[in-house]
Symmetry: C2
Subunit: 418 residues, 2 copies
C-alpha cells in the first residue's frame, strides 16, 4: 500500500496548494512559467542524463522504435518544452473572467466568475513532453496537478518535475502545486481513479486502452479525450478537385492522429468520376484500401471491407471506402460508426451542407475542409490539453478555458428568502 | 437479466429518438409541452388511480409519513405539474444558440453552437413530480430521457409517463423520446450506470446515499447534485440585526433542503452581543443547538458539538455553532468542512467581503444574504434540474443551458492542413 500513502500525501498537498493557487495574480503565474522555462534551459543536461536511463531500460524491455522516439529527449526537444511554457505565459489568463452578471428584482447581484477546477489529475503514456505541457497549462489556469506518466519515462519525468517545480516555487508558486506519482506499478493508477477526496477531474491522454481503463474505473469525473473514427463524405455536387485534395489530406498528412480520416464515403453519382483517380493516388501514397463491393470495382488494389472495418480507428495508412446512395445513407453510416470526433462533407449544395452540419452529432463538423484541423492551435486557442469526445463540460479541442470551472458570487444587503 | 434487455431496448430507442429530437424546431417542442400539460389535466383520474396503489403499497411497507407525502398525488398536485410544463414551454430555447464565431487566417469560419446532450438518464426517488419535470426539461433541450424513479412510485410513474409521452408523440415528438425503466429491482440501477453506449450523462436527484451510489458506480459521466453543509459567518463588523435575520432564515425557513445552513460561525468579538439573543431565538423555533465550548457559555440549551457535527448535513432543526477568532479561522473551517454548495458572510467590511468571495471555494458565495437563495428559480433561470456541487460542466443551480452541450461547425472552401 506504499502508493496509497504516496497518493494521499500528494493529494492532500495538491489540495492545499490549490487553495492558494486559485487566488494568485496573473503576473505571478506568468513569471513562474518563465522561471520554469529558464530552469529547463539551465538544467537540460540533468534531464538528459535521466532520460538516458529510461531509454536504456526501454531498449532492454524491447520497446518499439516509435515508443523509444516518443520517450527520447534531446536538447532541442527540451528547448521546445521551454518555448511552450513561454507561449503559455503569453496567453490571456481566463481566471477571474466575469461570465455573466444578473440583477434580481429583490436586489441581489449574482455574478458568475471563472475559477480554477482545483486539482487536476493527468494520466498519460511515456511522453515526457506531456509532463511539462500539462504542468504549464494547469498552472496558468490556477490548478494544482497530479501527474501519472508512463512508467517507462519515470526517470525523465522525475527529473523534469524537480526542475520545473523548483523554478515555479522560486517564483512564488505555493509548494505542492506540482505532484508526480513516482510509484510505477499499475495499482497506483487504479487508486488515483478513486481519489475523489483530492481530485476534481482526471484527464487521460493517450491511446484507446488507457482511456477505456480510466473511463470504466474512475469515480472521479473524467474528461474523455480521444478516439476518432472520422469520415469524409464526397457529395454528388462536390468540386471533385477540392474533394480529392481534402480526402488526401485527411488520410495521408498524418494518419496516426485522432483527427485523420478512417472512412471515405462517396455519393454513387460521382463514384465513376471520382474514385478511380482517388484510389490510384492513395495507392501511390502507400494507403491500404478496403472497400464495399461497389468500391472494389474501381481499383484492383481494393480489398473487401468487413463490418469491423467501419468500426476501426486504423491510425495508420489504411482507409475504408463506401459508395452510398445519397446524403441520407451517408448520415446513417456516420451516426452508426462515428466516434463523434470530426466529420466532413465536400459539397457545393448549401442545403446539403446545412443538413450535414445540423444533423451530424460530432465535436467538429466540417464543410469543404479537412478533418485534420480539429486541434487547439488550429482553432486559435493557443494551447491544447486534448480533444474531448464527450459532451459534458468540454467538447472538441480543449484550451485554457476548458481547464476552468465557475462559481456564483452573490452580493446582497440583508436579503432573506420567504 | 430481464432488466438488461429492457435497458438495452429502451436505450437504443432513446438514442434513435435523440437524433431526431436534436433537429426539432422550438415551435414543435413547445406545442408538445402544452400537449403534455393538456394530457395530464385530461387524465388526472387515471394517474390518481395508479397513485392510490403506490400509496397503499407504501403504507403496507411502513413508509414514513414524509415519504408518503412525497409520493402522494392530488388533483391540485397534478395541476401544478401541468403548470410547470407550460412554464417550460414559455422559456427561451437554448438549442441552436451561437456561442462564438471565430474566423481563422486560413479562411475557416469556426462556429460554436449549442446542441442537446443526447440521452440523459435521471435516477431519483419516489417523487412522481420529478417524472414530469425531468421529462419536460429534457424535451425542451432536445434530449431524450431515460427515467428511473424510486420503486415505491412505479405505478404512478408508469401512468404519468404513458399520459405525457402520448401527449408529446401526438404533437410530433419522435417516439422513444421518453423512457421509463419499469424493472424495480436495484440491479437495474447498476446496469443503467454502465449504459455508456446509450447514455451521455446521468443526473441523480435525491439523498446522499443515492448520489454516492451513482458517483461510485457510474461509468457514464455524472452530474453530481446535492449535499449541502452550508455555513454562515457573522463577521466582527456585521450589522447584527441583519445577521440575525439572515442566520434565522438560513436555518429555519426550510431545514430539509440542501441550501439551508448547518453551521453558524461567529467572530469572537461580536459573540457576546450576538449569540445570547440569537440562540434564544433558535431555541424558540425548536432548533436543537450544538456548540463549541465558547458557544456553550451563551445559552443553557447548547449541547457540546463533536467533530462529527461539523461534518454533518442535518437537513433538520439542528444547528452547530462555532465561535472563531477571525476571518482566517472561518475560512479554514469552511475549507475543511464545506461541501462547496453555498456559503455566506455577514459583514460591513468590504475587504472581508471580497476576501470571502474570492477565497471560498463553493458553487455560491454570498455577502449579506441567506444561503437559501441557491435555487434555479431564485437565480432567474426559470427552471431547475438540480444544484451541481461538482466543478465539471455545471456548478450551482442548473437551468436549461446546463442540459446542453456544444459542437463546432466549420465552413471552408477547400482548406487542407499542411
Amino acid at each position: 500500500m506504499g502508493h496509497l500513502s504516496e497518493l494521499e500525501v500528494k493529494g492532500k498537498s495538491a489540495k492545499q496548494a490549490a487553495r492558494k493557487l486559485a487566488t494568485l495574480s496573473t503576473t505571478v503565474k506568468n513569471q513562474a512559467l518563465v522561471s520554469m522555462a529558464d530552469a529547463l534551459e539551465g538544467q537540460w543536461e540533468t534531464i538528459l542524463a535521466a532520460n538516458v536511463i529510461d531509454i536504456e531500460n526501454g531498449k532492454e524491455k524491447g520497446l518499439s522504435e516509435s515508443l523509444l522516439d516518443r520517450l527520447l529527449l534531446t536538447q532541442s526537444r527540451i528547448q521546445s518544452m521551454a518555448d511552450g511554457l513561454r507561449q503559455i505565459a503569453e496567453l490571456p489568463d481566463p481566471i477571474g473572467e466575469v461570465l455573466s452578471t444578473n440583477y434580481r428584482p429583490n436586489g441581489l447581484e449574482i455574478t458568475k466568475v471563472r475559477v480554477p477546477l482545483g486539482v487536476i489529475g493527468i494520466i498519460y503514456e511515456a511522453r515526457p513532453n506531456v509532463t511539462v505541457d500539462a504542468a504549464g497549462l494547469c498552472l496558468k489556469t490556477g490548478n494544482a496537478v497530479i501527474l501519472r506518466g508512463g512508467s517507462e519515462a519515470i526517470h525523465s519525468n522525475t527529473a523534469i518535475i524537480k526542475v520545473i517545480a523548483q523554478g515555479a516555487y522560486d517564483a512564488g508558486i505555493p509548494i505542492g502545486a506540482f505532484q508526480l506519482i513516482e510509484t510505477t506499478d499499475r495499482q497506483a493508477v487504479n487508486d488515483m481513479l478513486k481519489l475523489n477526496q483530492y481530485l476534481d477531474v482526471i484527464i487521460p491522454r493517450g491511446g484507446a486502452g488507457l482511456i477505456k481503463t480510466v473511463v470504466e474505473n474512475s469515480t472521479v469525473p473524467v474528461i474523455e479525450t480521444g478516439t476518432g473514427i472520422c469520415h469524409t463524405f464526397v457529395d454528388e455536387s462536390a468540386d471533385l478537385t477540392m474533394a480529392q485534395a481534402i480526402a488526401y489530406n485527411a488520410k495521408v498528412s498524418r494518419p496516426g492522429v485522432c483527427n485523420s480520416m478512417e472512412t471515405l464515403l462517396v455519393h454513387k453519382k460521382v463514384a465513376d468520376q471520382f474514385l478511380p483517380r482517388m484510389l490510384s493516388v492513395y495507392q501511390q501514397a502507400g494507403v491500404e484500401l478496403r472497400g464495399c463491393p461497389l468500391t472494389e470495382k474501381y481499383h484492383s488494389a481494393v480489398k473487401p471491407a468487413s463490418i469491423q472495418d467501419w468500426a476501426t480507428e486504423y491510425s495508420d495508412f489504411v482507409l475504408s471506402i463506401k459508395v452510398v446512395a445519397d446524403l441520407d445513407e451517408a448520415l446513417e453510416h456516420i451516426a452508426e460508426y462515428s466516434t463523434r470526433h470530426s466529420e466532413a462533407i465536400v459539397t457545393q449544395d448549401s442545403n446539403n451542407a446545412k443538413r450535414f452540419q445540423h444533423e451530424v452529432d460530432a465535436a467538429a463538423v466540417y464543410v469543404n475542409a479537412s478533418t485534420r484541423f480539429t486541434d487547439g492551435f488550429e482553432f486559435g486557442f493557443g494551447a491544447e490539453i486534448g480533444i474531448s469526445t464527450q459532451k459534458l463540460h468540454a467538447r472538441g479541442p480543449m484550451g485554457l478555458a476548458e481547464l476552468t470551472s465557475s462559481k456564483y458570487t452573490i452580493c446582497g444587503n440583508g436579503q432573506i428568502r420567504e
